[in-house]
Structures are given as C-alpha cells and as structure tokens.
Amino acid sequence: MNTGSTMNITSLLFASSLVFVSLIFSYSQKLKLEKEIVISIIRAVIQLVAVGYLLNYIFGLKNILFTTLLLLFMTFNASYNAAKRGKDIKNGLLISFASIASGTMITLLILVASGSIKYEPYQIIPVSGMIISNSMVALGLCYKQLGSNFKNRRDEVETKLALGAEIKTASVGIIRDSIKTGMLPTIDSAKTLGIVALPGMMTGLILAGTSPVVAVKFQIMVTFMMLSTTSISSFMACYLAYRNFFNERKQLK
C-alpha cells in the first residue's frame, strides 16, 4: 500500500476509477445523478489541489498575522453558512461569528497554553478547520431547532408570558433543547469513536505513517476540543438568538 509520502499521481489516477462505480450505479438505476457526481468530483479535485498549494504556501510563511487573518476568514465563511439555517434570526451572521469565534478562541487558547499544539500555521490551521466546521454544523442545527420549537411550542411560551415571565424565562426550555440538539452529534460521535469508525484525522495520520498510539493521542485531543467548541458556540448562539423571536414589547412575533 502507498502511504501519504509515497503516493504518486498514477496511483491516484487508478483510484479515480472508483468514481465510475458510482456513475454506473447512477446510470443503471436511472438516478440521474451522473452530472452531479462529475461536477462534485471536479470541484473536489480543484478545491483540494488549490487548498493544498495554498496551505503549502501559508505553512512556509510562518506569519502569525496572516495565520490569524486566515482563521478569521474561515470563521466568517462558517458563520455565513450557519446563519443561512436561521432565516428567522436577524443578525444571524453576527451572532454566528461571535459564537464560533469565541468557541474557537477559548479552545485554541487552552490547547496552545497547555502545549498540546503550537501557534504555527501547520498545526493551528488544520485544528481550527476541524473546530470551526464542527461549530458551523452545530449552529445550523441549533437555529433550525430554535425556529421549529418557537413554532411548535408557541402555546407554552405564550402561557408563560401571560403569567408574567420575562422572555428569557419563557424561552429557557426551548433554548436548552436547542443547545442540546446542536451538541448531540458531537457527543454521539465521541461515544462511538474507535468502535464505529476511525475518525478522518486519525486515519490520515496512520496512513501517513504515524504510529496508531500517537494518532490516538491527537484524536483524544481533537475529541476534547470538538466538545468544548461545540458547547461554547451552541450556548452563545442560542442565548443570543432567542430574542429574535420576540418584539420589543416582549410579545411573540
């Protein structure tokens, strides 16, 4: 088997024949996904090659300011995508940015301070990528749950408001439920690590020739940081977003 350090273009081209498997399935089953598959593969190759060269360049720069700017750019993109899931939420982009940035900052601070990673591009960027994308998915779930809860549990909120509750007290059950929804996928995947699947990062390290024991150490760190960032981001986003479902007269919109 080729490892990451010895994989050549011929091997990669040979591996690309696997794409034909899905094309054949799509064609024989009349799924009409052939165009989608081809586009997705072309996009994936172009994006990955571009990002590969970009990372190569950035890792070579070793510039703290540039690395930080790149992190902000990644956070902005993730926030923009998460905000799209919360159409009822005004300032969704700002809330998402504040939540993802806070979660990422706190987690990175602890990881760097504890000496688990160094603030150098080749470590910070991949680690932040994992954290930020995980938070983005969590926030999307939180917003979706907030929206559907405020719709389905309208009677409960209105009853509490009618009793004289402040909007936060009237919404706290919904907020907690939404935070939980955002965090559950990360908790569930943590529970099944090593049993159901070997995570991508760990698999990558092993394929690149790292000892499984060392790879596991990194994976444990990744699991800790995912849990921490997801909980911070989900908590912040839900507590900042719930007000959007009320007007200034403390009435449900």
């Binding site: 009677d155 409960e156 209105e158 009853t159 509490k160 408001l161 009618a162 009793l163 004289g164 509750a165 402040e166 909007i167 007290t169 059950g173 007269r249 403390k250 009435q251 449900l252």
Partner: protein
C-alpha cells in the same frame, strides 16, 4: 374607577381587521362577559388586555396608564389570563404551581395552594401527579389555580368552561364568582348567554370585530 380603557382600538392582521374601533371602559370590580360568534375577535380582545399583542391603532390604558408605557412582564403579573385550551408545562403539576412564585423570586406558598385547591374542589394528592395523567377538567382547574396563586387585579377567561362537564363548570363558575366578590375584575369570553346573565354585570357583544353592544344586566358588581 376605570381599570381598563379602550380608546378606538383596532387590530389588523393578515390583511384584515380582527378588531375595529373598540372604545369601552371596564370598571374595577366589574364582571364582564364577552359574547359573539366564533371568529368575531373575542380572544384577540383578551390578548390585547394582557398585552400579548399590541393594538395596530388606538390606545389601551390600565389604571390610567397606557399599556405601551408599562413594562409588559410586570403588567402581565397583574392581569391573569386563562386560555381556552390550558397548557400545563413541565412534567408535574407542581412545576406549574411553583412557576408564579419562581418568576417573582418568592417561596412557594403551600397554604395558598391548599386554599385554592379546596376552592376548586381539587384533591391535594394531585400536586405530585404527572401533567399527562390529568383529565381535561383537572388541567383547566390547575391552569386557573396557577393564574390565581398570586391574585391578579384582572382575570381574563377565554371560554374556560366550554369543554368541561356540568359539575366542573359549576365549580369553576362558583370559584370565579367568589373571586369577583373579593374584588378581582373578571372578563370572561363565553358562548353561553345564560352563564353571562347569571354572573356578569356587563355583557359586551362583539360581532365581526366591532363592538355591537354593551348591556348592563342590573347585577351588582
């Protein structure tokens, strides 16, 4: 003394007027019955009273103060509202009974709960019951008790007896009547004209969002 004053109040939603140009005074201690066909705007009237919605135009005053100048949460603590379909939250009955105290940072008053349970002919053992195990009548009475634990100035009732049997209806009617005698202003939306005539000193008829009549029954407020 007027406790609630509506002046040219209209409420517009989904491109139509639900209520239009409502002007009326409700005096402290009144027992007001609001009648009218389904969809005439009665429930909207109650929601406006406790500021769960704001009028599109016109003004509502509570004790001479415009509702728009009051803190909504503080206002609602003085205006109790019981919905037609009661919503009990949490798992247990006690979650509902402790809520009015919780939002006021007060300790739960067991004596007050006891008193209201006996007034509404409820067994105290129900306190530990799960909400899902209660009958419709029990749910409605618990919702009423929850609203009355800290006595409001005004009690708004939205067809609270419409799904109750006659014995539960009697219990609720008598309890509400004695609360009114104790000085609480009652505004009761009902379809039952007989019920209106029996208890109310004012009968307000709303039709197609407009105030059709205000009848004084002669019953002493």
């Amino acid at each position: 003394m007027s406790i609630l004053q509506f002046h040219n109040v209209s409420y517009f939603k989904d491109e139509k007027y639900i209520l239009k140009d409502i002007t009326l005074n409700i005096e402290k201690g009144d027992f007001v019955s609001i009648i009218g066909p389904s969809g005439s705007g009665k429930s909207t009237f109650l929601k406006l009273c406790c500021h769960l919605i704001s009028p599109t135009s016109g003004s509502i005053k509570y004790l001479q103060k415009d509702l728009m100048d009051c803190d909504p949460a503080e206002l609602r603590k003085n205006i109790g509202y019981c919905f037609q379909t009661p919503h009990l939250f949490g798992e247990h009955v006690m979650d509902n009974l402790s809520f009015p105290y919780l939002i006021r940072d007060l300790a739960t008053d067991k004596n007050r709960i006891n008193l209201l349970f006996s007034e509404f002919h409820m067994d105290m053992d129900l306190i530990t019951n799960e909400v899902k195990n209660l009958s419709g009548g029990e749910k409605q009475r618990i919702a009423l008790i929850r609203t009355l634990l800290i006595a409001p100035e005004i009690l708004l009732l939205d067809e609270v007896t419409s799904s109750l049997d006659s014995s539960n209806t009697d219990i609720v009617e008598n309890a509400v009547n004695s609360l009114n005698k104790a000085g609480i202003t009652v505004i009761w939306v009902t379809h039952n004209l007989e019920q209106s005539r029996k208890f109310a000193n004012k009968i307000i008829t709303i039709e197609a969002g407009r105030l059709k009549s205000v009848d004084i029954t002669g019953r002493e407020a």
